[in-house]
């Protein structure tokens, strides 16, 4: 990939018509030759790591979670760290698809589809960890208040139970939202596909979509309604995840700042992951006209803004542990900075405090290599943040006699690497079987840029954001 590309305010570059957009997006799915070696490498590596995870889980089910590094006093280890990390990564998808839709941000159109897919796959990875952490995943239904013969209901006062509801609602709403958005595009694939098997599959998934006005009208209301439902979820899910810590009484966990700071961190990590995927994929599939440098620049800016909020959170944690005057709070901060995990804390400050400052410079925001590297720092930093929060507080609690040290085992590492594999496998599998860019929304965007006449190059001016909303998307589709 070329390291630097020019900035342009148009959201679709190059000379595009409705047909060329349609062909470009559908071609990735319909033309099996459009996938190159990088795709195969990512998919295969993901698949191999997924198999590794399968083995680790099998061994885990056979031996129990003792094979992990979790132990007294470190009851939560990599499993919960990874859980929070993955859940956070998912947030960018929901933010892009729901909040940016309600705010009528046209630049969401080209990135929302795979950001939403990323959300789903990240939640799938995240969900594994608490499920396996219970030690008896086959009893997972006990977490729900079903009419049982035990006279037992879950403990509704426990944030861990709120988590169950938050995550399952999030997964369901995200999946429905994603699927609904896919219907018109899948119908387009059904109409373009020559292969009878693909046509049947896409036809079944399109659920009888004909592109009739009545379909569009219902689609628009359903989509806006789901966006409204998802919007509070963007804020609530990670707030509730943060309650897992904030509701407890442990120094370093019992922090009122956690909900907003976790949400900001989630969006921060999520955008880093979107960029991590978008930068190579747009090059491999030559989607530079749709995922423009403007998109990438704005995503980097969102990352900078949320990164600053997160860093502000670290400063607040430091300040308030001193200002509280509480010996346990002060010691907790001392152990974070200079204790046995001090290296992790300073790495965290480097990754989430120092490195994002480079994003202030437009030259770096438009330098794809630099941006990609920064995104990796951000992902690492967000992982370290959860590591510092969980491990330091658990291994340095009130009683020095119960202090300890947490060491991960190869099974911890295997699970983590395995979920990375699962994520990669699902993501690249998705790129191959479903349209990675929202086809009809791009055509609608083009309509708003050039008007009804069939495209002759791009418009000279940027689209007015106020024009968003899909009401204009009549008969022009497909």
């Amino acid at each position: 990939m070329s390291a630097r590309e020019k900035l342009n305010d148009d959201l679709i570059l190059g000379k595009h018509t409705y047909r060329s957009i349609n062909d470009k997006v559908n071609n990735v799915v319909l033309n099996q030759n459009s996938h190159t070696i990088p795709w195969a490498v990512c998919f295969m590596v993901g698949f191999m790591l997924l198999q590794l995870m399968g083995l680790v889980i099998l061994w885990l089910l056979y031996r129990g979670i003792g094979i992990w590094g979790v132990n007294n006093p470190s009851m939560w280890g990599w499993d919960i760290i990874n859980f929070v990390w993955w859940i956070g990564i998912g947030h960018a998808g929901t933010l892009i698809s729901a909040i940016l839709l309600l705010l009528k941000q046209s630049w969401r159109n080209s990135i929302n589809r795979f950001a939403e897919a990323m959300t789903l796959f990240a939640v799938a990875c995240a969900g594994l960890f608490p499920l396996l952490h219970t030690g008896r995943p086959y009893m997972a239904y006990w977490m729900f208040p079903y009419p049982n013969v035990l006279a037992m209901t879950p403990n509704f006062r426990s944030p861990l139970l709120w988590d169950v509801f938050a995550i399952s609602t999030y997964a369901t709403v995200s999946a429905v939202f994603w699927f609904l958005g896919l219907i018109p595009d899948v119908a387009s694939l059904r109409d373009r596909s020559k292969n009878p098997i693909f046509r049947t599959i896409f036809g079944a998934l399109a659920m009888g979509w004909r592109g009739a006005s009545s379909h569009w009208q219902r689609y628009e209301s359903a989509y806006i309604m789901l966006a409204g439902l998802s919007t509070p979820l963007v804020l609530s899910v990670h707030s509730i995840v943060s309650f897992d810590f904030a509701v407890s009484n442990l120094p370093g966990w019992h922090v009122t700042l956690f909900p907003p700071y976790f949400v900001a961190g989630a969006v921060y990590a999520g955008f880093a992951m979107v960029l991590t995927l978008a930068i190579p994929v747009r090059a491999w599939y030559n989607m530079k006209d749709f995922i423009t440098m403007r998109h990438i620049d704005w995503m980097a800016k969102v990352m900078l803004a949320t990164g600053l909020i997160v860093f502000y959170g670290y400063l607040c944690e430091g300040f308030f542990s001193w200002y509280s005057g509480n010996v346990f709070e002060r010691d907790m901060m001392r152990f974070r900075m200079f204790g046995p995990y001090g290296w992790a804390y300073w790495m965290l400050i480097l990754c989430n405090g120092v490195v994002p400052q480079f994003l202030w410079f437009p030259k770096i925001r438009t330098n794809l290599v630099a941006l990609f590297v920064i995104c990796q720092f951000v992902s690492l930093g967000m992982w370290l943040e959860r590591f510092v929060i969980i491990t330091v507080s658990l291994t340095r609690d009130f009683l020095p006699s119960s202090w300890g040290y947490f060491t991960p085992t190869i099974y911890d590492i295997g699970m983590f690497v395995g979920t990375v594999g699962q994520f990669t496998f699902l993501m690249f599998g998705f790129l191959r079987v479903l349209p990675m860019i929202n086809n009809f929304e791009m055509k609608e965007l083009l309509y708003r840029m050039i008007g009804r006449g069939h495209g002759h190059g791009h418009a000279a001016h940027a689209p007015e954001p106020a024009l968003a909303g899909h009401a204009a998307g009549d008969g022009e589709e497909h």
Binding site: Y146, P147, V149, L150, A151, R190, T200, A204, M207, G208
Partner: protein
């Protein structure tokens, strides 16, 4: 291009949406139904025993006390299944040639216990003690159903945790006079019509169906028993009471 699906396929699409919404509820209902069915709980299903022992004959017709065979029920955790010697205390004199009793005689001769099939069983992670329940005035039938009517022994009631907790959360609904635990079988014996007629409704209900819903007065009496026994209601439904 020809249509992929016939218009009728729309029905399938709608049906799949409906199933998506109702499916989980249906699955839940099926699950709750199956878990409560007697094929799962084994309640009401007679076990295959080496000797077709009839509680009805020995208790209702002959008037043998429960404790004659289940001799440790008042003093130990287990009610205990009687040793062969208990059977032989009578059957060395009567029915000595009955082919049905051959396994008992064999067992006696070879000094090997009869392998009775266990009918009532609590899981291994549950601590249950018979003696304390008898001492708090709980009749056998409250948990085991009306055993004195059973031709072949079966589990009288499904041992659900909700069912244990029903009493452990509200002990006043069941505790009573420990002296009357075994007397109801005497009164209910065949031929004791006058005694049976004079039985209080609660005793008769428990004798016949093992279940009685107490009236407010009876509940007040139950409360008195709870106080008298010094039962700590707040602790009684704690996990560790049974899961030690």
């Amino acid at each position: 291009m020809a249509q992929v699906f016939h218009p009728r396929a729309n029905v399938l699409a709608k049906l799949s949406l409906i199933l998506l919404a109702t499916g989980p509820v249906l699955l839940l209902l099926i699950g709750t139904g199956v878990s409560r069915a007697s094929h799962n709980t084994k309640a009401g299903i007679a076990a295959d025993q080496p000797v077709p022992f009839s509680h009805e004959h020995h208790v209702s017709e002959l008037g043998i006390d429960c404790r004659y065979c289940h001799s440790n029920v008042e003093t130990s955790a287990h009610a205990t299944v009687p040793p062969t010697e208990t059977c032989m205390s009578c059957h060395s004199q009567i029915w000595t040639n009955s082919p049905l009793l051959e396994p008992i005689r064999q067992s006696y001769k070879t000094n090997t216990p009869v392998t009775w099939a266990q009918v009532n069983k609590v899981p291994e992670f549950v601590y249950f003690n018979h003696s304390i329940h008898i001492k708090r005035g709980l009749n056998c039938n409250i948990c085991h159903g009306s055993v004195q009517q059973m031709q072949l022994a079966y589990k009288g009631k499904p041992f659900f945790m909700v069912w244990c907790l029903n009493c452990h959360r509200n002990p006043e609904k069941y505790v009573g006079d420990p002296d009357k635990v075994f007397s109801i079988y005497e009164k209910g014996q065949k031929g004791q019509d006058r005694e049976y007629a004079n039985m209080p409704a609660e005793e008769r209900d428990i004798l016949n169906v093992g279940e009685h819903t107490r009236s407010p007065e009876e509940l007040a009496k139950g409360e008195e028993w709870v106080k008298k026994f010094n039962i700590k209601k707040k602790q009684l439904a704690d996990c560790w009471i049974c899961h030690r």
